[in-house]
């Protein structure tokens, strides 16, 4: 199940780029789900566990994937940790829902992610324990918690 913490979360890993660079496991690129996410978001193909073929940048190491894909891979492979999913654009939203179907994951969102107007889902908002099933239900709740964020 996908659980979201909106706003400030001290346990969240904020800079997912740096964390990914220092922790990723080449085996993460061997799964079908990883291949599909890399293809869909970065329009790139996994050639090997250390080499990605990007239509723009040519052959690149995993560190040069987009911030969104790297964060999804972290969420998929380290489900016991909380990552800042505001590194993910709306094009990652469906993949967060997919991962949530196969694993219990908790993410931190510091912006309003759009999961799709007509998309049915089950998301738990950890801030107040609300269970929501559509954007219509999620929007006022997420907005309330995002407004509670304080400048650092």
């Amino acid at each position: 199940m996908l659980t979201i913490i909106y706003g400030d979360e001290p346990q969240s890993i904020y800079n997912t780029n740096v964390y990914f660079k220092n922790t990723y496991d080449p085996e993460w690129f061997e799964t079908e789900l990883a291949r599909k996410m890399v293809e869909d978001i970065d329009h790139s193909n996994i050639l090997s566990s250390e080499c990605i073929s990007s239509p723009v940048l040519g052959q690149i190491p995993p560190e040069r994937l987009s911030g969104g894909v790297k964060t999804l891979l972290l969420i998929l492979n380290e489900p016991d940790k909380i990552f800042n999913a505001s590194a993910c654009g709306d094009n990652c939203a469906k993949w967060l829902l997919e991962i949530g179907k196969i694993k219990d994951i908790t993410i931190n969102l510091r912006h309003m992610m759009d999961f799709g107007k007509n998309t049915a889902f089950e998301i738990k908002v950890k801030n107040g324990g609300e269970l929501v099933h559509s954007m219509r239900e999620l929007l006022p709740i997420a907005s309330k918690y995002l407004n509670e964020m304080k400048p650092e």
Binding site: P55, L57, G67, S86, C88, H111, L146, P151
Partner: protein, 324 residues
């Protein structure tokens, strides 16, 4: 700094060509669209110059900031365009907001987070998109595109209720307009309360029109836009500011600021005005200060602005909104 500045950045594989014209520009949008690639190229050029293999053309120095020493660096940099990638926690800090205010630098920030301490414009929030290929299709060309416009509606709307972000002059004006239209006008008492106000008035039939100062509404735009995409009966109208709207209608006698309105960036010094909203307020106050009839203050609107002539001019100016 003032004015607009064209920036061309290219490597053999990718090219960016865009113009920025305000102190704060936000790059956002989908993952994989090339925001970090752009900032990395600028970083490489700044560090290694021509040895980087990156070509960069701009009439101002372009540089990046991502170190723990950001505060000192910001204090030392002048008259430059500073690019900052997501993942830097200091973007949310009060200290960063303080340093942006009063800075003679322009800032280009890649982020999806709302930054309510920075008064950035909805018109300077951009996404990147690939728009073609050059040099025998080996080089990808990325262009900026506006994510949001002055009005969120695509077709004509007929408002049945007005919600203003403002509780002062703008609210007074639109209350008067609403009274003439026999519709309701309420104030949200601040830009972050708009969604809450929409929820509270969920059962009211008809289209709700939200009116906000676009020049300083950037931090709320993402959230409100997702909200508007998911409900049927509300639209946002966000001109630069209420004062800009009054000046643009050209209704106040003996004031001609059309040159400024056509290219505000050539007149607005970032060091003096952290947002265009503040500039247009100062401009209207200054231009009317000697008039006993039109003297403008933000707190209380003088009667002249509530005349049917001014209200009709503003109504006519607001495109895609039909008042019946």
């Amino acid at each position: 700094m003032k004015g607009s500045h064209r920036i061309i950045v290219e490597s053999r594989k990718v090219k960016y060509d865009f113009i920025i014209k305000r102190n704060i520009t936000i790059l956002t949008g989908d993952s994989g669209s090339g925001k970090t690639v752009l900032i990395d190229l600028i970083h490489d050029y700044r560090r290694y110059g021509a040895d980087s293999g990156v070509q960069l053309s701009c009439d101002r120095a372009c540089r990046t900031i991502d170190s723990e020493d950001w505060e000192r660096e910001l204090k030392e940099i002048s008259d430059s365009i500073i690019f900052i990638d997501e993942g830097n926690r200091f973007l949310k800090s009060k200290k960063f907001a303080e340093l942006v205010q009063g800075s003679d630098n322009y800032f280009v920030i890649a982020t999806r987070e709302k930054l309510p301490t920075l008064p950035y414009s909805i018109n300077e929030i951009y996404g990147f998109r690939e728009s073609g290929k050059f040099h025998n299709t080996r080089q990808t060309y990325n262009e900026l595109y506006h994510l949001y416009g002055e009005i969120s509606a695509e077709t004509t709307i007929v408002p049945q209720m007005i919600i203003t972000e403002d509780s002062n002059s703008g609210y007074q004006f639109f209350s008067e307009l609403a009274k003439a239209q026999k519709i309701t006008c309420i104030s949200a008492d601040g830009k972050s309360n708009i969604i809450q106000k929409l929820e509270e008035n969920r059962d009211i039939k008809g289209t709700k029109l939200i009116i906000a100062d676009g020049a300083a509404f950037g931090s709320e735009m993402r959230e409100l836009n997702v909200y508007l995409n998911n409900i049927e009966n509300a639209a946002l109208y966000a001109p630069e500011s209420f004062e800009w709207l009054l000046l643009s209608c050209n209704i106040i006698p003996n004031i001609n600021v059309q040159n400024i309105l056509q290219k505000p960036e050539d007149y607005i010094e970032s060091k003096d005005f952290v947002s265009w909203e503040r500039f247009f307020t100062a401009l209207l106050i200054d231009k009317t200060k000697t008039s006993s009839v039109w003297s403008y203050t933000k707190k209380k609107l003088s009667k002249a602005y509530l005349s049917s002539k001014v209200i009709n001019s503003v109504k006519k100016f607001m495109k895609l909104i039909k008042w019946v």
